[in-house]
Every structure is written in structure tokens, then in C-alpha cells.
């Protein structure tokens, strides 16, 4: 009985002396980073699974996302039987023009200038000649032309015969509705350079400051 008790005490003493080693091991083992870096892909995270190393996969050709079937051909192409049309696919409101102004300022003014004169700091430094929206040719084109150019870009002569793309397509960057809003805003810009006070509704004239 006595020996059993003393043996138990000796065990306890050993525990007191060396127990902290086990405790520390457990504490240190508790440090891990699998919540910090979880087993899922963050945007652009590299992947070893795919041959090109990208976890963000390009669209499969022909795939249509739910709710994105493009049934309204005119809305998405601005064309009727291959010819650009001269009507907006939805009504133009003041909000739409404001949206168009915002989008125009972000994406178009970089080259074409905020007033659409074809002059900007980028164009000047790079000595490129973007289109001036106030030239007669562009005042006469149907409104769908602007949508078409934003969607498909502009080629200087045939690319097969050594021509180059002077304006890239913005279809992947600007939503369809916003492209139409920009087209409407370009029309507003054109009007602004060729309008008189009589064109402004009497109720709005006070805002002109005279």
C-alpha cells in the first residue's frame, strides 16, 4: 500500500517537472494558418490544376449564363438586318443621360476629350487622332453607329491586309445599357455645340445663369 502511494507521488512529481513540455507542444501545434489561407480560390489565385495556371477560367464558347439570353437583337447589336438603326431601344430620360455622361467621362473622354472634340491629354502626348464627335459625318450617322463602334471597335482598313485596330472593343468593359446611354449622351454633346437659348425649355433656362 505504501509503495503504491509513493509511486503515485513520484509520478505526480515527474508530471510537475516535465508536463509543461507536453503543454507547450499542444499550444504550439494549435498555431496554424488554414483559416487565413482557406482551400478555395480567391480571384486570380494561381491554380496547379489547370495547365495555364489560372483558377479564373475563360468562358466556354457558346455558354450562356442564366438570364443572359440575348433575345433582343437590336438592343445588343443596334442593327436591323445588318444596318445600324437610328432609334434608342428604350426611352431616354435625364437619369440615363447622367449615366451616359458618367460612363463617357470614364471610358471615352480619355481619348475623345470630355467635350467630344477629339482632343485630350492622351491623344496629344501619343499623337493619335481620335474622332471628333462634332464633325458633320458623325452628326449625320444614326445613333446605333456609336453603339456599334463601342461594341466592335474601329479598324483602319482590313486587318487581314495589314490594317490595325485604332479603337478596341469595349464590349467586355461597358454594359449594353451603358453603351446606349453613352450613345445618347454623345447626341446630347452634339446638340450642345449647336443649340441656342431657344432650344432650352423655359423652365430650365434659369439654370443657365442668365
Amino acid at each position: 500500500m505504501q509503495t503504491l502511494r509513493s509511486r503515485r507521488l513520484a509520478t505526480r512529481a515527474r508530471l510537475a517537472r516535465y508536463g509543461w513540455v507536453g503543454l507547450l507542444t499542444m499550444l504550439l501545434a494549435a498555431c496554424h494558418t488554414d483559416m487565413y489561407s482557406q482551400p478555395r480560390y480567391q480571384p486570380y489565385e494561381p491554380s496547379s490544376f489547370f495547365a495555364d495556371g489560372r483558377s479564373s477560367r475563360p468562358n466556354v464558347p457558346g455558354a450562356v449564363a442564366a438570364g443572359q439570353v440575348q433575345t433582343d437583337t437590336y438592343l445588343y447589336t443596334a442593327k436591323v438586318n445588318g444596318v445600324v438603326g437610328n432609334v434608342m431601344p428604350f426611352p431616354v430620360t435625364a437619369n440615363l443621360l447622367a449615366r451616359g455622361q458618367q460612363q463617357f467621362t470614364i471610358y471615352c473622354s480619355v481619348c475623345h476629350g470630355v467635350a467630344g472634340m477629339g482632343q485630350s491629354i492622351v491623344a496629344e502626348r501619343a499623337s493619335i487622332v481620335p474622332a471628333n464627335f462634332h464633325q458633320q459625318r458623325l452628326r449625320d450617322v444614326p445613333i446605333g453607329h456609336f453603339f456599334d463602334v463601342i461594341t466592335n471597335g474601329v479598324y483602319r482598313s482590313d486587318p487581314v491586309k495589314g490594317g490595325y485596330q485604332s479603337m478596341f472593343s469595349y464590349a467586355s468593359r461597358i454594359k449594353v445599357e451603358d453603351r446606349w446611354a453613352i450613345a445618347a449622351y454623345i447626341r446630347a454633346l452634339q446638340l450642345s455645340q449647336n443649340a441656342t437659348v431657344d432650344d432650352v425649355p423655359p423652365a430650365e433656362r434659369a439654370k443657365l445663369g442668365r
Binding site: 483559416m35 482557406q38 480571384p43 501619343a126 478596341f168 468593359r173
Partner: protein
């Protein structure tokens, strides 16, 4: 009754008082100073990218809007890094032979992405959403600093939880009008608290829910 502790345990006990004090100081330094230091967070450390792209030139001098390249910043949780196509929109004609752009041209020709390095990173257990901040009047420069003056981008804010909560508890201190969100040189008005409180109300920012755990941790 047998002795549990040997005699030298008395000495160890006394020494452990000092050891305990030392441990407390060390823990304070490690947790309170090292982990919060600019060194640990890599704040003010400029990250060299594979292409010597300058925000100072493009956003500052040329005045190109943030959204021209970071198109999804106001639509998605993630502010995209522009596709090579976006670079080539201009650089197929401008500086098209520059050796600095060789990596971009190669990427455009082969379809292999440019391997940009990440500057701002939050842990995976934080669900940060860019669009909600942009659309509720938090400016780019609030978190990223004046990127339009940086030739090479560095992190200016610590991005730790206390820093997030600082704004989530008092959004009126930082909120700005929506049309000023992309203005990198925005300066707060002197009556920011009054203006901010109005904007918080106007934009429907629900202060009570901003400090809920699941706002960021889901």
C-alpha cells in the same frame, strides 16, 4: 509524506517570477508592437511589379479614371486587375515598341496572363466587398491612400480588424459624397461630422449592423 518537489524547486520558483515578468513583456511586445508594426504589415513598402506600370503617370498626370481599368470595382466584391486587352487598348498604338511593355505584348500574343503581384491582402476569413464601400460613399483614397501620386504602389493602411472597426463604428467620420469617391485628392470638409451624419442617413448606412460579426466573417 513524500516530497513532490525537489529542494531546488524553491530556486526555480523564485526565478520563475522574473521569467514570468519577462514573458509578459515579450508577449506585449510581440502582440502589441511587432504584429501591429509597419514592418510586419509591410506598410510603406513599394511592391515592384513585373511591368513598371506607374499609377502616378496614368491616374495622376493623364487623369484616367480608376474605373477605366478597374471596371468591376463598383459592381463586384473584387476590384479587378485589368486584362491585358485593357493595356493594349492604348499600347497597341502608344509606346508600342517600348521594351518596358514587352511583358504586356507577350501576354497579349500568347494569352498567358501578366503575373501582377498583390499589394493589399486581407485574410480569407474576411469577406471584403469593394462595391458596397464604393456605392456607399467610401473613397478609394480612404483605404488605398493617394495612389495617383505613387509610381510604384505600396500599402498605406494597416488593414487590421481594429482599423476596419474604426470606420464601421463611426462611418460618419469617413463617408463622402458619391461623386467624390474616385477623387483621389479629396479633402474632408471642416464640418465632416455633420456632413457625414447626413450622408450616412441619406445613403441608408445601417450603423447598428455594421459591427455585427457576420458583416465581415461569414
Amino acid at each position: 509524506m513524500g516530497q513532490i518537489f525537489p529542494r531546488n524547486a524553491n530556486l526555480l520558483m523564485r526565478l520563475s517570477i522574473f521569467a514570468g515578468l519577462l514573458l509578459a513583456v515579450e508577449l506585449t511586445l510581440i502582440l502589441g508592437v511587432y504584429f501591429r508594426s509597419n514592418y510586419f504589415r509591410q506598410i510603406n513598402v513599394a511592391i515592384e511589379q513585373p511591368v513598371p506600370y506607374s499609377h502616378q503617370l496614368h491616374a495622376g498626370v493623364l487623369g484616367i479614371d480608376c474605373r477605366y481599368c478597374h471596371i468591376s470595382v463598383d459592381k463586384s466584391s473584387f476590384a479587378n486587375v485589368p486584362a491585358t486587352e485593357t493595356c493594349m487598348t492604348c499600347h497597341s498604338q502608344i509606346k508600342s515598341n517600348s521594351p518596358k511593355l514587352a511583358v504586356v505584348r507577350e501576354s497579349y500574343a500568347t494569352g498567358k496572363p501578366v503575373e501582377w503581384l498583390r499589394v493589399h491582402r486581407v485574410p480569407d476569413f474576411v469577406y471584403f466587398n469593394h462595391s458596397i464601400h464604393i456605392n456607399k460613399g467610401i473613397g478609394c483614397s480612404n483605404c488605398h491612400g493617394q495612389i495617383n501620386t505613387m509610381a510604384v504602389v505600396w500599402q498605406t493602411q494597416p488593414l487590421y480588424m481594429g482599423w476596419c472597426l474604426n470606420c464601421h463604428r463611426n462611418p460618419e467620420k469617413y463617408i463622402r459624397p458619391r461623386d467624390q469617391v474616385f477623387n483621389m485628392d479629396y479633402v474632408q470638409p471642416v464640418d465632416q461630422l455633420q456632413v457625414g451624419a447626413n450622408l450616412v442617413k441619406q445613403y441608408g448606412v445601417n450603423k447598428a449592423q455594421l459591427t455585427n460579426c457576420y458583416i465581415c466573417h461569414r
